[in-house]
Amino acid sequence: MLFSYVLQFLPEEEAGSLLVNIFSKLSTRLEEACNSSLSIYCWLQVEARKIILEHIGGKGGGGQGTEYYSSLLQDASPEQQWVFRELFLNGRQKEELALQVGKDGAYIDNLLKESLVTIGKRLT
């Protein structure tokens, strides 16, 4: 299950080796997973994403892999898609995006919220 999640950030050959790193790093934090307010799988995704973003950080961003959550954003506006992709797949900060488009943080927050609503509708 986690491999398809990793694949949205990286190409297959790189995703495979990173999956090994993710599991070896996270296997020492099982207690943290059990104590989290998130389900084990969501905790795994969140922590895996941190490792992935750290890995791709120096290479100029992710989102080079397959579509996963992005495929659920087909009905969203290009702006909403861009905000989701930059925040989620590339790990950029809201402030950074706000600065880039010359708007405030609330504008980015709203676009993210709308993109998540779109994802939520496609998930049901």
Partner: protein
């Protein structure tokens, strides 16, 4: 706080995807135990993400799970390396701590030596034998008591004809 507005803000979706700031996480984690609706909404979203993950799973390249298993197996194997050189700096200590699986074990059971097992079995069997013997001897005792009672009742009757014959 209007919890419905808070849920509608999309905070839970952000949280489950790892898009919240540490301050937002802290606030949410404080509120979760206080508002069942909030917890239910989070579970609902998590369930959707998990179902999506199940429906769209892709098997990893062949041999990946073996590599993961090998890497995890290597973790405890690195332990003696730290003890053998007799000294370690802070970095090594930190790495060492990260390599151990931290497991808190809360159990109401106790562990005893394996020799106690046959001892307990022998004690159990002996207790059953003693129980059976005590029941047997109790019944024997009751039976004897009855015999004595009936003999005592027969004794005056038997004494009557003997005394009459003597006269």
């Amino acid at each position: 706080m209007n919890i419905r507005n808070y849920i509608d803000s999309g905070i839970l979706q952000n949280y489950a995807l790892g898009l919240t700031s540490p301050a937002e996480v802290a606030t949410l984690e404080k509120l979760l135990p206080l508002y069942p609706d909030l917890q239910d909404a989070l579970w609902d979203w998590e369930m959707k993400l998990e179902q999506y993950a199940i429906q769209h799973q892709t098997p990893p390249p062949e041999g990946t799970w073996e590599l993961i298993a090998d890497r995890i197996r290597e973790l405890p194997a690195t332990r003696p390396a730290y003890g053998q050189n007799g000294h370690s700096n802070g970095q090594e200590t930190k790495e060492k701590e990260e390599e151990y699986l931290s497991v808190k074990h809360h159990s109401s059971t106790i562990r005893v030596h394996k020799y106690w097992r046959p001892a307990f079995i022998i004690i159990f069997i002996l207790s059953k034998i003693f129980l059976a013997l005590s029941i047997y001897y109790y019944l024997q005792y009751k039976h004897t008591q009855k015999d004595i009672q009936s003999l005592q009742q027969q004794l005056p009757k038997a004494n009557g004809p003997v005394q009459a014959a003597g006269k």
